[in-house]
Symmetry: D2
Subunit: 293 residues, 4 copies
């Protein structure tokens, strides 16, 4: 044969799962978008059309809903571990990766306190969990799990304590140096929990996530930023300072430029008050910071 199969994976994406737990006092609402992806002994499906090893993606979808019935009772990471172990136990699977995006809902506020059964979707961010579990090829035992968490689409702005100067200049450089600018970005942050967390049992993923989020936001507010690059380093360090179980943090930050409007043609000054927000083009900074062992 002239060709060979290289890296490959397959799965079901955008499985939309909503659960309502109907407690005596109030309802609990959860809202996830789940992606399942498998790697393993699937070469025959590609090269000879033999589907014997293939778990149908429709079955993946069914499994997510069926396991959600009884086992989705804690953090998304724990449900991801349940799903990951289930799929990794399939004999053909060498790795199952479960990505869970949780959409937040807050309770409507009433005079007597939070409503028991009415909710508003909070669009501030999407909480992210990603769990991968290794499978033993040809066996139903499962190997160690790897748990990542984070969030997407948290849009933030610093209206001062941000500068950009001292950068390289060449014949195509026209950008002036600025010692006070707006810095706005839509944060995607992912972090990895230390291997050997006892597979999540007894570990409070919600509390760890909340400590990480809080540390990032405080750091955002307090640090002086000489560049988006430096802000990643500072905020990632703050996350790991705050949460010892996190081994690394990756951030991918667009620089959502806000340009000061030149009002001088209209006889007006603009002392850092009026800006045009832009989305295109945008800077894009991607960096990972590791805890030293």
């Amino acid at each position: 044969m002239s060709y060979s199969l290289g890296e490959n994976r397959y799965g079901k994406s955008r499985i939309r799962l909503v659960t309502v737990r109907r407690g005596p006092e109030r309802h609990h609402l959860r809202d996830l978008t789940v992606d399942v992806s498998l790697e393993g002994d699937f070469g025959a499906a590609h090269t000879t059309g033999d589907n014997a090893n293939v778990v149908a993606t429709d079955t993946m979808k069914n499994t997510v809903y069926a396991l959600a019935r009884d086992r989705f009772t804690g953090p998304a990471e724990a449900f991801g571990l349940e799903l990951g172990r289930h799929f990794a136990a399939e004999s053909a699977v060498t790795r199952a990766t479960i990505t869970l995006r949780e959409h937040g809902w807050s309770r409507v506020e009433l005079d007597g306190g939070p409503a028991p059964d009415a909710f508003v979707r909070s669009g501030e961010l999407v909480r992210l969990a990603r769990v991968s579990v290794d499978g033993a090829p040809g066996a139903s035992s499962v190997g160690p799990a790897n748990v990542e968490a984070g969030f997407e689409d948290l849009t933030v702005m610093k209206t001062t304590k941000s500068a950009f100067s001292g950068f390289a200049r060449d014949r195509f450089t026209t950008l002036p140096e600025v010692d006070d600018r707006l810095m706005a970005t839509k944060i995607s942050a992912t972090w990895g929990y230390r291997a050997g967390l006892p597979d999540g049992a007894g570990f409070d993923f919600d509390a760890a996530w909340e400590r990480a989020r809080t540390a990032l936001l405080r750091s955002l507010a307090e640090h002086f930023s000489p560049s988006v690059q430096a802000s990643i380093w500072i905020m990632a360090s703050a996350i790991m300072d705050a949460e010892g179980s996190i081994d690394w943090v990756r951030m991918i930050l667009p620089n959502l430029h806000h340009w000061s409007v030149d009002l001088s043609p209209f006889g007006l000054d603009n002392p850092g008050e009026v800006f045009v927000a832009t989305t295109e083009p945008h800077g894009l900074i991607d960096a990972t910071v590791h805890r030293r062992s």
Copy 2:
């Protein structure tokens, strides 16, 4: 000539305006997307290519930024009135309509209180204001203003107290009657303030908006919904009960269906706990409720 010009308007859309007011204690951040649209004596531009009456849309953009320098200090409705009067005073203009969508930002919470200069974009809803001002053709005087407000993209869910039964059945009807379902929708609500509000002077648009929003959410949480149609009536009435300056409320509500998953093939029951969220197709209900004079 065989053809005649009918209804027409033109303007600039998606003018992105961000302002930072730098107070001694803390910064104030505002974020608007503004659309300007004009109607008037623009027939010659269409039929003979004579642009003499045409205010360039680039000029509209400049005007929004220039007026924002000093006059965007209160609610979006008040800034819309400034802009509307400016454009209505152009001699060719018979009506200027300004639509302002405000994107909310909240302060990062620190130990010592809210941050003075760091913000998180709150994606819960977009606040809407729409102001139209009549112009006197051929003169620079302006006529009365009309002010609408509301919001877009407030996604909400009731996990009980929603039913749908007693509807018409024909040979294409398969939907069962249900006395307890999830009801989810993304609310677009617009309301009109009473004419004769003294052009906004002395009227607190922020407080009125907040009363309307609060009334809608409380009503959402508390009422029993026999249909989305009935919910619009109930929530619109609640808004007008709470805010006497509002003459009418229009809501356009998609019915974002959540289907209970049949888990019986897997030997599981599903007592209203596991749902698939869908976006397509969706019901769409559009109704306006008026205060009787």
Copy 3:
């Protein structure tokens, strides 16, 4: 009662319908997104929660699929007439409006000619049809139909023969006059067929649509444009010159600005060769041209 119900309508949106007709030689693929909207005697559903007159939106969806089985064999307009008459015959309905967006697919080209059963989606435009049929309240007879057609999302560009000069100047005007610019827009065009077309029987909606599209594109290529406003007039006139059954044409055209890049800081000229394409903000021109009776 303090409140009264004003304008209202409801329906099902984004019903995704794909049909494959399996001819002996080749398959015929159609792809529609259908919206159904009803007006009529639905006040009780709003004000008293009485759903007796309400056709469930789920029933609307079922009806679209069921009628598609045998009756979707011609142009979208004809299928819209079938659906419109069906719903207008419901006793509570005073008007049924059916909007059909058709997504084009072309055949894969093979050496021996077009493939019989493999297709590529052509993203150039979305064809639009909108049919409304009046119902007789309390009766199952239906009244006259109104048929509109058009398209959405046809993005076009003229690289010359477009200017913008002679416009009004005030203190906020900085735009220079230009006698040669790029003009780019994403065309939404809708037109209305003459009432009294015998309800579509014997009328070739496909041929009329094609004549209108061709006339618009030729006119786009050939005319000199002193403004987007004038281009609407010219292109709408060309459509009606080409197709006598069309009574009016409405176009809503964003002005997708392409700004010439100033390359002089880099020692380079730019004789109308290098542009930055922008999407925000954009001009927006909306006008309707009527055939004189």
Copy 4:
């Protein structure tokens, strides 16, 4: 220090470039979205806020426009090589990656042939080129280049010759086996050209791209598909059969499910004619096929 910087890169994304070459007979229109991304000696920017090595992303944008003036005269791959070598020559850069997405425009057809200066954007696909050039740290010499090409967003459908059967069944499997189904997908295909292509000089990237696209579409139309996995293998092999300079092909294919509608409640059969198109959830298959050396 407790932390160390791991993988990192930065750049400018979504640089929108349109060029018009004004030939004596007709204009030539090109439309690109360009992303620039650099890796190299940028640690100090992160860890100490020292920007001395940092090429501002604004400079990247300027460079794209300036080089486009004279050097964007051939295929996107060739312009990517120009840009990649320019940035790789910066002393801090170890790798420059340029991603170019080209949006197609076709000429308006007139009676006398294609229009010289009026264009329609063809939305069928986005052509992709990605060039990476290695830099010598601390020097302005550049190393070898790597060129990839492909396309995104080509939506296709097979209305027969697609099946899915013989797959694994477990207690969560409800999907029936089918020997004739619709297969629809939105193709993202990327391929790598053989290293040692003399840096693009003398190589006809347009012709190679066109051979690859044609081979993929023919293969799509002609092969029997036992699964999406097998289709990737077959189509990737066809691409490499047709174009000997391609060493590998990667495809990422969503399975855009079309479900046959059950019309039996309405007394109708459905012999593979009426389908509901869905987007969520969807299967997702990702595989790379290599040419054996």
